[in-house]
Assembly symmetry: C2
Homo-oligomer: 211 residues x 2
Amino acid sequence: MSTAEETAGGEAQAWGEVTPDAARRLLVAAVEAFAERGYHATTTRDIAGRAGMSPAALYIHYKTKEELLHRISRIGHEKALEILQVASRREGTPTERLADAVSSFVRWHAGGRTTARVVQYELESLGPDARAEILALRREVDGEVRGIIEEGVRSGEFDVIDVHGTTLAVLSLCIDVARWFNVGGPRTPEEVGELYADLVLRMVGARGRTA
Amino acid sequence: MSTAEETAGGEAQAWGEVTPDAARRLLVAAVEAFAERGYHATTTRDIAGRAGMSPAALYIHYKTKEELLHRISRIGHEKALEILQVASRREGTPTERLADAVSSFVRWHAGGRTTARVVQYELESLGPDARAEILALRREVDGEVRGIIEEGVRSGEFDVIDVHGTTLAVLSLCIDVARWFNVGGPRTPEEVGELYADLVLRMVGARGRTA
DNA sequence: GGCCACACTAAGCGCTCGCTCACCTTCGGC
DNA sequence: GCCGAAGGTGAGCGAGCGCTTAGTGTGGCC
């Protein structure tokens, strides 16, 4: 197993839909490089090198370096949104669904930290059009979480005064996991997910929170 | 009032200790530029231009572009640590002191968002020695918050199972304010500080939390 | 008034960046 | 067996980077 595959770990499978093979290798290489050094500090030569290609090969599959970031960001946001939609639309009480949403969202940010970092922190390196597209996806993400919280408040399960502010705080808490989570650290993504689900249920004042 | 002063707003006063005047102007210009575009996307010509000077003038006061980031990061972390120390060492119950620590820490991250962004998100652009120095300051920051939480658990005021994990989550929540807070948005730094203090008291299971 | 230390500038060096171009291989279809 | 499309390479362009250097005001001190 190559270094690249080790770094990306189980994350690589998420890019399975990207074809052809060379384009996918370049995308995975770009995710790693952007996550390590940031978009602006990454060179196209570095990306191509990690994918085992010459610098010019990048431009056969992508028009610019920014297009790489744009594609990564869109695929990542779509995946994040999907995770929340699944948790939001399953059966169960708002308490159960919020706990599910938070724990799976956090697992994604911790386990796929490399990808999540790029998705969450390199947004401002995008051009205006691409950024607008991604911001629309983020509003959908926000809406999913707010929906669950609103429902819990309506049913009397949650005790929340400022729904918008609390939604923002919950998402913020989950997203920031990508900043500090360390793969070699003392906690697994699953453990952090469980801890955070409990903390969030406390934040919304869920009754009969946990066992 | 110039655009630069508007952007930095009340933040500028925090740099009052930096002398001489030209060095301070360059530092404030660098904070703004790093916050807007990120360290790597900022050019020394841009920094000097914002300070109303020629590119070469920067190198009279600072050895390299990285030294600017290092100084900003150290002063910022020292200020953040001081805020938490004041809240931690005042009189009062752990509940009162934690609420105070969180609300003032959040006010700093929201009100001084420009500075806080650089301080919290450009850490990895520092060289190894500078990063090690800053990481030591961050461990102190962590220790202040953990100290309050431990005390609250000992006194029976708080109900926390994982003290380290909860400390991390509390700090993470506060720090991420610098990422999303918008000066023109619907909330003032004071409002966010109050909301977050309440949310954090819920997270630690403080009894008789608020009025 | 002469002098020097200091703050600053105009010009530009060496380098690396994102990206392009002319050319080379490989391979399926007929 | 030949051909064109697709995917790749080596070399290198123009631009902009961090930083340096030689020279220019300017203000305080004797």
